[in-house]
Symmetry: C2
Subunit: 247 residues, 2 copies
């Protein structure tokens, strides 16, 4: 148990500041949240479907994913999360988990007790609004995925996922020059987009042949942003990344 005021919470401060300016007190209150940090191996469950967690999980390093298992080994991945995200923030107000959360890579996560977060949101309505907003963006991303899975071709879905993850990573300084780390397997991509791994493989080869992407050694370079975002009908409005309007 590590309750020292280390800098793991700076990540949260920066995240929330990216959408709304924080007062000194608010910043202070976040910094003094109790946290417990853990390092996870790939594929480890953090919270499980049906569980009733008493803490939230802030991702400090690595990729995590929410998913749900169905009969006969089918799996649907619901979202990918990168440093700065709180993938199970909904558990603050929904007692029982309706899906699982796991690490996709070696990850570092910080756990924050619900109790502390509830206290924080009661004392600072502005922070409550900021966290609420965060879960709303989450929901917007779910909607966008639904649109892809429901109405786009495999090519479109994959191109869209690349565009989305690039912008998310770029926003926290983890990608640049249309190049990003890509730790996901083709099975993972398929489970996220409702496709078989075989079909993902074929589409990826096709994208490579078209020079739209270069994908090797867990790194992805987008050779043609315009082409990919058109293919995926990608419009970043749903990510609600606008810089704060008021300084």
């Amino acid at each position: 148990m590590n309750s020292a005021p280390d800098h793991s919470l700076n990540m949260l401060v920066r995240k929330l500041e990216s959408v709304a300016p924080l007062s000194h007190d608010e910043r202070q209150a976040i910094q003094s949240l109790p946290v417990m940090t853990r390092i996870l191996q790939p594929g480890q469950d953090i919270v499980r479907d049906g569980g009733q967690p008493s803490q939230c999980c802030l991702v400090l390093d690595g990729w995590t994913a929410r998913y749900k298992l169905l009969s006969e080994g089918r799996r649907q991945i619901l979202s990918f999360h990168i440093p700065g995200d709180i993938p199970d923030l909904q558990s603050l107000h929904l007692a029982v988990m309706d899906h699982s959360l796991c690490s996709m890579t070696v990850s570092t996560v910080a756990f924050i007790p619900h109790e502390s977060l509830r206290d924080l949101t009661a004392r600072f309505p502005g922070l409550a609004a900021a966290l609420w907003r965060d879960t709303l963006i989450d929901a917007a991303i779910f909607r966008e995925w639904m649109i892809g899975i429901g109405r786009k071709s495999a090519h479109g879905r994959i191109a869209h996922l690349f565009c989305e993850m690039y912008l998310k990573l770029h926003a926290v300084g983890l990608a640049d020059h249309h190049r990003m780390p890509w730790p996901l397997t083709q099975i993972d991509i398929g489970d996220a987009l409702g496709l078989s791994n075989v079909h993902v493989n074929r589409v990826l080869q096709n994208l490579r042949n078209q020079k739209l992407i270069i994908l090797d050694r867990r790194n992805l370079t987008m050779g043609d942003w315009e082409g990919l975002s058109e293919m995926g009908e990608f419009d970043p409005v749903y990510l609600h990344l606008e810089r704060r309007a008021a300084a």
Copy 2:
């Protein structure tokens, strides 16, 4: 403009009370929110993709839906909403709409200014939490739809939708005895579940032949709840309908 304390806001009081007990002051504060009521014809847009609404919409009567249009006339319906829902509550914290909202039937809706809601949530953290929770359930339903569209057969998806809508309607007293109003066309169902209307038609016929449903004159009877929920792998946990634990 109708700011009289009519009973349209009772619907909201009841909704929020179904998850958390409200204090007298909180109830009072809700009741005195300013509202403007409107009656809509089927298929009318309430808020449009790209818009920046300054009010939220409480459904008093009828069904509404959120949707997004893509190129070549493709449409993905993202959710259906029934009386008591606030389908665009996310606009309180996300300035620009990333999808549209429209009426599916003749509907009555009440508009509540963002300003008033923001004031309400700043004064009553408990109400903020209750509304927040409402948007979290929304997100849980998105996730569940994603699972269906991504990993279930057409039969499973349709059966699941029937189960979900029945429980939602039942919870607000609009359905009983496994019978409910069903105002949606087969095209609507297809656009919600990522299917063509032709295929929806064939699956519905099959469900009828199996005596799983009776569907006529915009009324749906579920002949075999067990069969349908098994077919749709339906587990209502994600609806988070649990009655309040504390009295």
